[in-house]
């Protein structure tokens, strides 16, 4: 694989990871927290429902997980494609 192809493959893998992460990002906030809240109304959490928890706390916890997951995966990808900083 030439350098150019390798760089292209690295970028594609990165875009794919970003895409998946952003779907989760949107799902927990705009989805569970707002639009899909009526669907989660049956699951009760401390005097209210799961959607309320996602809007006020759950989405923040998922955001944290996402950023650390992305950093960990990307650092592995960097090494795999040999583009990490020495």
């Amino acid at each position: 694989m030439s350098d150019k192809d390798s760089a292209m493959a690295y970028w594609k893998a990165n875009i794919r990871l970003i895409f998946i992460s952003l779907i989760i990002w949107a799902l927990v906030s705009f989805g569970f927290g707002i639009l899909l809240r009526p669907l989660l109304a049956g699951i009760s959490v401390g005097g209210t429902d799961l959607g309320f928890w996602f809007a006020q706390q759950g989405s923040i916890l998922v955001f944290l997980g996402l950023i650390f997951f992305y950093a960990w995966r990307m650092n592995r990808l960097d090494r795999k494609f040999g583009v990490d900083e020495e």
Partner: protein, 594 residues
Amino acid sequence: MDQFIINLIFVGASFALYIGIAIWARAGSTSEFYAAGRGVHPITNGMATAADWMSAASFISMAGLIAFVGYDNSTYLMGWTGGYVLLALLLAPYLRKFGKFTVSEFIGDRFYSQTARMVAVACLIIASVTYVIGQMTGVGVAFGRFLEVSNTTGLLIGAVIVFAYAVFGGMKGVTYTQVAQYIVLILAYTIPAIFISLQLTGNPIPALGLFGDHQASGEPLLAKLDQIVRELGFSEYTTHHGDTFNMMLFTLSLMIGTAGLPHVIMRFFTVPRVSDARWSAGWALVFIALLYLTAPAVGAMARLNITELMWPNGTDAAAVSLETIESDEKYDWMETWQKTGLLGWEDKNGDGLIQYYNDASPALQERAAAEGWQGNELTNFNRDILVLANPEIANLPGWVIGLVAAGGLAAALSTAAGLLLAISSAVSHDLIKGAINPNISERGELLSARIAMAVAIGVATYLGLNPPGFAAQTVALAFGLAAASIFPALMMGIFSTRINNVGAVAGMLAGLTVTLVYIFLHKGWFFIPGTNSFDDSDPLLFTIKSTSFGAVGAAINFATAYIVAGMTKETPQEIKDLVESVRIPRGAGAATDH
């Protein structure tokens, strides 16, 4: 000891601490002044970023907005944290690889255009000045209470101190001062919350107490809160009663704006490596989340406490009497806050009792007619006082109240000073040295920086006297402007090689102008009260409030840039190579100034 003296000791001690650290760190090394963060552990850097980022809007204002609206204002919580995901995934590592210190330099180089750089400077200044107005609103509330003067006097005193603080200057850039500010700020926020959570739910962790049981009634806290606010004719706390479309757009605007604010992005330019830029965003969010997970608990518990104080014998019995407010020490906070002009009550029907209820609710109007009430008698409750008044409302010890005063000032001052530095460097470095007079002397550059700072704070103070909203709402407008102008340009600069100089300039101008006009149409031209043609309760387009328009502005920016770039000359090869190199971590040197 008198509360005033206790406040003075806490605020004085915290200031002495910041200044002490600044002097100690400066004596250690001068280079740290310029490159805060390099060689600093990502966790330490994350703490400093969190202090930089959390302003009067997060500390003083946000929980109050949540308390009085409930679920619908979760937008602030999701918006201001969700932006960090965008920052970590879409911007931070690439801008770090690019290796310049300012956002406008990246835009100028990537779009090979001095015009693009100047437009970016203009966007930056407009968004930052709007942001400072929001900070000044918060500073006015904090100083007004702490010095026991009116809100206006507090604002004017605060303006002088912010100016001195910013001119004293570089200490803002010293990472360890910010770490100290973070620690003061987070202790000041969480300690009263822990006390209150223990009082109400028996759970020492407020974030969990929010979903726990209310000890006095044995019911879940949120169910109890829903019940008593419903009985007083207000909308239920946990249900959605606003417009869903506007709520989505508002959340998105805050998220994109977070990732487009230059003073936040700059923090990631100076970390040692590209992989650290990815981790740093995560650590910053860890420290931000400590406050953001507590904020909804602070809001809900304060609302419950206030309502119960106004109806000490339950919502179906008699309301609190004027005599009790004057004599019972549990109500002392009402009298102290009345002095600031931000809290007020009036016995409209002369029955010696103060009825707090929603006089627009049909069910309560019926009860009012039956019991001879003549409207809500808690006539004024400024949302921005809630967090600062919270420990007094819950009857906590004096030292907690002093600590909260110190924390609120730390949040407002650190961010206001940081923004003033960003504005002054944009004017003196990017605008005057970069475009108008490249041969300006160092002294001239410094002088123009100071003048820019003085003008910015003057404008912000003047507008802060009649703010376009509560602190967090004004700050939200600044996020809308950043979302519409800076974020799309940065993202397209990294993810698309098609966008050329003309496209980027057209996109930024279109996004900024349309958003600014939309805001001015609703909030008054240049925020001058009374010059607005529309109101946020009945906005110009569909249900989109002016605070939510940033996401629309961003879409206009993206679309304009693509269309214009498609019609004009292709990006040159060397710029395409530059973009390719930005996408790969290898070969990132230290960040350079020029």
